[in-house]
């Protein structure tokens, strides 16, 4: 009987942990959304055949490369911190610099990974690379998305809230219209 009681108590503790993990994910997201600074990352055109993978749009950030004279020291999958800034004219996010150590000062940065490096260019893999959509909306959005990416007059960007290296996707703007409101 005692073993049974211990098992039940341990199971209750486990159940709380199992609920707490996704709950923490939501709490972290809402905290970053509320307190984080929004940055607009311009989206680059992607493979024309299939921007949609399953149930999400592939997002490729245009501002994802930086020139560095010692590019060869940056290896694929290295963890880095991207210091961000905003363009004064367009308001779009741009990369100020990249560092290996987490910045201690009060600046905006995002934790990311190195995609590749060659010659004097370092390419970055940002953690926000997808936007989930409902299946029934997919064909319509895919057309608008693909067309908008090819039109150089249209500015399309992903709004990402950033705080203390963490980033969450807020909204996707295509041809000036919010995808959150389009649904």
């Amino acid at each position: 009987m005692k073993t049974k009681h211990i098992t039940i108590i341990l199971f209750v503790v486990l159940a709380i942990i199992q609920l707490a993990v996704p709950a923490k994910m939501i709490y972290t997201y809402n905290t970053i959304l509320a307190k984080g600074k929004p940055y607009k990352f311009q989206i680059a055109p992607i493979d024309p055949t299939d921007p949609f993978r399953g149930n999400y749009l592939i997002i490729r950030i245009k501002e994802s490369e930086i020139k560095r004279s010692n590019a060869e020291i940056w290896k694929h999958n290295d963890v880095i911190y991207v210091i961000l800034d905003s363009d004064k004219n367009t308001g779009l996010a741009k990369i100020k610099t990249i560092v290996r150590e987490k910045p201690q000062t009060d600046i905006d940065f995002v934790k990311a990974k190195i995609s590749y490096s060659n010659d004097s260019v370092v390419s970055i893999d940002f953690p926000f690379d997808r936007y989930y959509l409902e299946e029934s909306l997919a064909p319509k959005v895919e057309k608008i998305y693909s067309a908008a990416l090819r039109d150089p007059r249209k500015v399309n960007y992903l709004i990402v809230n950033v705080i203390d290296g963490e980033a969450v996707t807020n909204d996707l703007i295509i041809s000036g219209k919010s995808l959150n409101q389009r649904k």
């Binding site: 049974k4 098992t7 039940i8 341990l10 199971f11 209750v12 486990l14 159940a15 942990i17 199992q18 609920l19 993990v21 996704p22 994910m25 939501i26 997201y29 399953g54 149930n55 999400y56 290896k75 694929h76 999958n77 290295d78 963890v79 953690p127 926000f128 690379d129 997808r130 936007y131 989930y132 959509l133 409902e134 299946e135 909306l137 969450v168 996707t169 649904k183």
Partner: protein
């Protein structure tokens, strides 16, 4: 049988008391069979419901407000936890309840995390998601004493290891597969002790063996050729464990180990029988990492210990030579550092020896299957050499005819002997 009992009693073949005992015995067997059926249906039902929920996740219902979506994301998890809780309180001795509830909980954990990620557009590696999912499942195996959850967990960590070790190029994140596997072993050992002949033990044997074989390659770093030794050791261990007595209270028997071990060993031998491999790859010197040395050392020690124990038990009897292949390959690998040609000769000779040994053993024991296995080994060896030697077509043709005739004559001779015996 039961229907014939009254007749047997009437004819005084057996007494009424014995007839009752026989009837009681078969009734209990029938009940066990029914229990197994309930268990299978219970687990299948949970699996299908859980998978159905995951498929609904894929639909991605956008028209609902976020808070409703979040509530629905948590719903299967909460329901499965209540179900498990109720099972622990009221039905802890009922395996159908335990296994079904645990299976549903396993799937609900994955569904909840992936749904929340989708609702909030949270990106992340598949390997990180799998690691989190399996970590939250591990305690369920022990608290619910669920073998099906254990099997799903083992499959899950195998997938995680492949994702982390093979499919992400140059992954810098550590691979926790071996730790996760170790943490599941106590349940497996307990299962062997309590129900040595159960189907769950058999499934665990196969899943664990295949999982280790699949994930062993993730340890390869700078000197992946060294992993050949670890693989030979792994297959050798399976061959030895096919039928092994750990103690008077713990005997192990698993036919599938013999099959996997044999097939794996032969495939490894055939693949290393080509000279270009030794000349171009094995002969070159590579640096080695700690990560490659550890499995090599541990697996070699295990093989040596098991073989030593086998030899003591077998006493005068000869060990099956294929079980010595791991040690043989280590010797060959060492020789390769000095001369890359000798290993090729030795390995081909070993394959030929194993083939001939099986033919002789099959003839002695009048076992056609073993004879044909031996002949097949020799045939495959010849086919392999067909592709990397410069013999003329005539020579190759004559050799093939000779082997083919060998097949026919051996089979004919055995069948004739059998007819004569009958």
């Amino acid at each position: 049988m039961i229907k014939q009992l009254p007749e047997l009693v009437r004819e005084n073949v057996i007494s009424q008391e014995i007839a009752d005992k026989i009837a009681e015995y078969y009734q209990s067997k029938k009940k066990q069979g029914q229990n197994k059926l309930f268990l299978i249906f219970g687990v299948l039902g949970s699996l299908l419901v859980g998978l159905g929920i995951i498929l609904i996740i894929a639909h991605n219902w956008d028209h609902l407000p976020k808070n409703i979506k979040v509530a629905l994301a948590f719903l299967p998890l909460v329901v499965s936890q209540i179900w498990c809780g109720f099972t622990l309180v009221k039905k802890s001795n009922n395996p159908v309840w335990r296994e079904s509830a645990s299976t549903f909980l396993f799937l609900s954990i994955g569904a909840c995390i992936s749904l929340v990620s989708q609702i909030y557009h949270l990106s992340g590696d598949l390997s990180t998601f799998l690691l989190l999912w399996m970590s939250l499942t591990l305690p369920v195996i022990y608290l619910m004493n669920s073998s099906f959850a254990s099997l799903l967990y083992l499959i899950g960590i195998t997938y995680y290891s492949c994702e982390s070790g093979y499919w992400i190029y140059s992954n810098t994140e550590p691979n926790y597969y071996w730790l996760l596997l170790l943490l599941a072993i106590p349940h497996y050992v307990g299962l062997i002790r309590r129900q040595p002949d159960s189907n769950f033990v058999r499934f665990h044997n196969i899943v664990i063996a295949l999982s280790v074989i699949i994930c062993l390659g993730t340890l390869a770093q700078r000197n992946s050729e060294l992993m050949h030794i670890s693989y030979f050791n792994a297959f050798g261990i399976l061959l030895i464990l096919e039928e092994y007595t750990f103690s008077t209270h713990m005997k192990f028997k698993e036919k599938s180990f013999g099959l996997i071990g044999f097939a794996g060993t032969m495939i490894m031998l055939f693949s290393t029988s080509f000279d270009w491999l030794w000349n171009n790859i094995f002969h070159k010197h590579h640096t080695t990492s700690f990560q490659e040395i550890i499995p090599l050392t541990i697996s070699t020690l295990v093989v040596v210990a098991l073989l030593y124990r086998c030899q003591i038990k077998e006493k005068g009897n000869r060990l099956d030579p294929i079980k010595l292949t791991p040690l043989f390959f280590i010797l060959v690998y060492i020789i390769a550092n000095f001369n890359p040609t000798i290993p090729v000769i030795l390995i081909n000779a070993a394959i030929l020896y194993l083939g001939v040994n099986n033919v002789v053993r099959g003839l002695r024991n009048n076992h056609l299957g073993i004879v044909n296995l031996g002949l097949m080994t020799i045939t495959i060896l010849i086919i392999c050499r067909f592709f990397d030697t410069d013999f003329s077509f005539l020579t190759r043709g004559l050799v093939f005819i000779a082997v083919g005739l060998g097949f026919f004559l051996t089979n004919y001779s055995m069948l004739k002997n059998r007819r004569n015996e009958n």
